[in-house]
Amino acid sequence: MTARERVAGTVANYVDERTGAAKWMKKNLTKVFPDHWSFLLGEIVLYSFIILLLSGTFLTFWFDPSQREVIYDGSYVPLQGLHMSAAYASTLHISFEIRGGMLMRQIHHWAALIFMAGMVVHLMRVYFTGAFRKPREFNWIIGVGLLTLGIVEGFLGYSLPDDLLSGTGIRIAEAIIQALPVVGSYLAFFAFGGAFPGEAFIPRIFTVHVLLLPGIFLALITVHLMLVWYQKHTQWPGPGRTEKNVVGYPLMPAYMAKAGGFFFIVFGVTAFLGAVASINPIWLYGPYNPGQVSAGSQPDWYMGWLDGLVRMAPPLETYLFGYTISWNILIPGLIIPGILFTGMALYPFIESWITGDKREHHLLDRPRNVPNRTALGAMSLTFMLVALINGGNDIIATTFSLSINQVMWFSRIGIIVLPPLAFVITKRICLSLQRADRELVLHGRETGRLLMLPHGEFVEVHEPISPELAWKLTAHEQAPALVLADVDARGVRRAGSLKNKLRKRISQANAESIAKPTANDLKEIEHH
């Protein structure tokens, strides 16, 4: 036994006698993780969260979350002598006088964008492959919660510097609170400690941004990962892979090294962006003043769709018995986002209601094999994209020399017309891809080699595909539509038959598919 082994043994013994960790560790050091690039997306989110904690902690050492007015006397000449909040002045101080401060600010902001983008892409991966299905519904809901909180956290974060752009954002947030029926103006005054902007808001959202929300994130991420660990990761269908097993690499050492290495890759890329790509140059915006605004005021992209919806809303207000209801704010600002996020959180249950499928699923779906789900996803993304485009309608209008009215009308019509169109097109594409898969399995790969037959006819030589690929293309299930009787066994019409009818309809649309080839089909072809 070497000296090193002796030391390690002593430490391990010490820990195990007090925790009994050896048994758990023994089992989990060889825990198997399936490998696929799309499984790294969630890791990117986790790592950027860690980067956010590290860089954010650094920033708090100098940031002064106060709206107390100071006169700027720092090294950035164009703003010298101006009145501004201590929050803004200290952000300038971090940017220009603290060595590495600018770098850390930019890393923090870039990491936030990567965090949000990572969540969105990770969510898309989980959605389009059906990884949210039983038993993973809890994790789906936690994920939707994290995404929602992420949007709030990001907004609060870029609001903290109290520059002209972010102050405008806060003003809009205040208007949304104020628009709430009955309690709006009270809530706004409670949130801001009086009339907008007051001096209470920045210190308050600072606490929420650095303590409350990160704490909730930490708790939710922990549960999220523990569930992934305990339920084991999903895997793509393929040769040797079933609902009952996990095929992949053991945690130690290869997976550990890859995941750990990937953290440094993500951090490195974020640091590179922070080094070379300027982001949120608050010194160009100036301090916040409610009487001023800069043209082309844009939120960060993950809020852009919300702003886009608000921009395209029709000018609708109701005045009733001396009270005002601002539909132009409530519908795009609260009602539509509420419906979208609730629908998203409930989607696993909706789908299982449609398919009647209550089984566990550990093999992922190829998106083409579930046309309806894929089409619904494409439809939602199209909706979000149109909203996001409209969030930048002023920038688009000036960049492409259009009038803002044209862009706005495109969005207003597009947000209604394009999503259903995306649904239909996506569904057709999925079915065509299924057809292509069927062709490939039955007739093999086109080799591009032409053969002239003795009688002069040209044919292309097809090569049979490997049994592995044939299996991969046919491993999925094609469940028939639900059979729901309108009348029960005694011939009495069921209660809620309308609901049944709806369910049947959706289930039928959902089951639409191109029959996958079977071994019988293959044999039949061989006989020809």
Binding site: V183, G193, G194, A200, G268, W471
Partner: protein, 330 residues
């Protein structure tokens, strides 16, 4: 589905293909060297980071292709850190991919559902324990407990009451009063009608007395835009026309949609545009909304001149300025 249809068979896990480094000692040595080099690049990155922190001056800018004019300190500090971090990752992953075991293994999943036995035992135990606590029987305790737990939930809400004052008339009142002079922002100089040429725009605030600087929350309600047109260009009711002075019309600058500053005036079309959500207001028609999400015209401030010829407010705003709220009556 009938049994006759036979699905295509699972050929099973494909045979493992060895990597070059697994079989060829030369390739193995090469991979080892590559990993070491990647780690060394990272170390160099950290050295660059430290060097930049201490020795690259913070006020040196230089031209860097693509990036343009760049601060040397920030760039080298960041690049050093990026290189240091990235290449640790690259080394670890290269190591894992070339030299660490890459044999795919199969692990079995366990059913998440507990055994029937355990589930039954849980139900029995839970029922028994709950029965022992008498939760079902002692309705007096149950109800009083419900009451106390429900009530204690109120205390955080009560505690939050002092977050802010009640709105009172804060949302409906501004600092503008009859006779308040309009002063320039910035500058705080009173203005005469002849200071504004036709087509000109000016941001004004109510005259402010005392040493203390204006509160931002006052500016958030008081900011007003003056626009001078030719008097014949107005299409106003006679009342609203009497609120203008010699072609000068005054509107609240705070958008009636969500409170941004309505800062963009297009001289040719005489439209005011809010840069936040593009609500567009037609100045000659009392800032009527002609496009965008805002549902209300910008409130108009009635102006005239005082005996010394300076612009003043005739009276306070006749309606609340800024975004809508529940208690607003129209």
């Amino acid at each position: 589905m009938s049994n006759e249809i036979e699905a295509i068979k699972d050929p099973g896990l494909p045979a493992h293909v060895h990597r070059k480094a697994d079989t060829d000692p030369v390739a193995e040595k090469r991979a080892e060297r590559q990993v070491a080099i990647l780690f060394l690049i990272s170390a160099l990155g950290t050295l660059l980071f430290i060097f930049a922190y201490y020795f690259v001056p913070e006020d040196v800018f230089f031209f860097f292709p693509v990036l343009g004019n760049t601060n040397a300190h920030q760039l080298f500090l960041g690049l050093g850190l990026a290189i240091a971090l990235f290449f640790i990752g690259a080394a670890a992953i290269h190591w894992a991919k070339t030299l660490m075991p890459d044999l795919e293994v199969i692990a079995m999943r366990h059913t998440l559902r507990s055994d029937e036995e355990d589930r039954d035992a849980l139900v029995t135990t839970a029922k028994e324990r709950a029965g022992a606590a008498g939760l079902g029987r002692r309705s007096l305790i149950k109800r009083s407990m419900g009451l106390s737990l429900g009530l204690i939930g109120l205390s955080p809400l009560v505690l939050l009451r002092d977050l802010g004052p009640l709105p009172g008339d804060e949302l409906t009142k501004t600092s503008w009063k009859a006779g308040t002079r309009l002063v320039t922002d910035p500058g705080d100089r009173p203005i005469r009608p002849e200071d504004l040429e036709v087509g000109a725009v000016a941001q004004v605030l109510p005259e402010h007395f005392g040493e203390e600087r204006r509160h931002l929350s006052d500016i958030a309600k008081d900011a007003v835009l003056l626009i001078r047109l030719r008097p014949e260009e107005f299409q106003l009711s006679s009342e609203r026309l009497s609120w203008t002075y010699d072609g000068i019309i005054a509107f609240s600058k705070i958008c009636s949609h969500m409170g941004c500053a309505v800062a963009l005036y297009e001289q040719t079309t005489k439209h005011l545009l809010c840069p936040c959500h593009q609500s567009t207001f037609d100045v000659p028609r009392a800032a009527k909304v002609i496009f965008g999400p805002s549902a209300r015209a910008l409130p108009q401030l009635a102006i005239t001149v005082d005996s010394e010829g300076f612009l003043i407010a005739q009276k306070p705003f006749s309606e609340p300025v800024g975004p809508s709220f529940w208690e607003r009556s129209s």
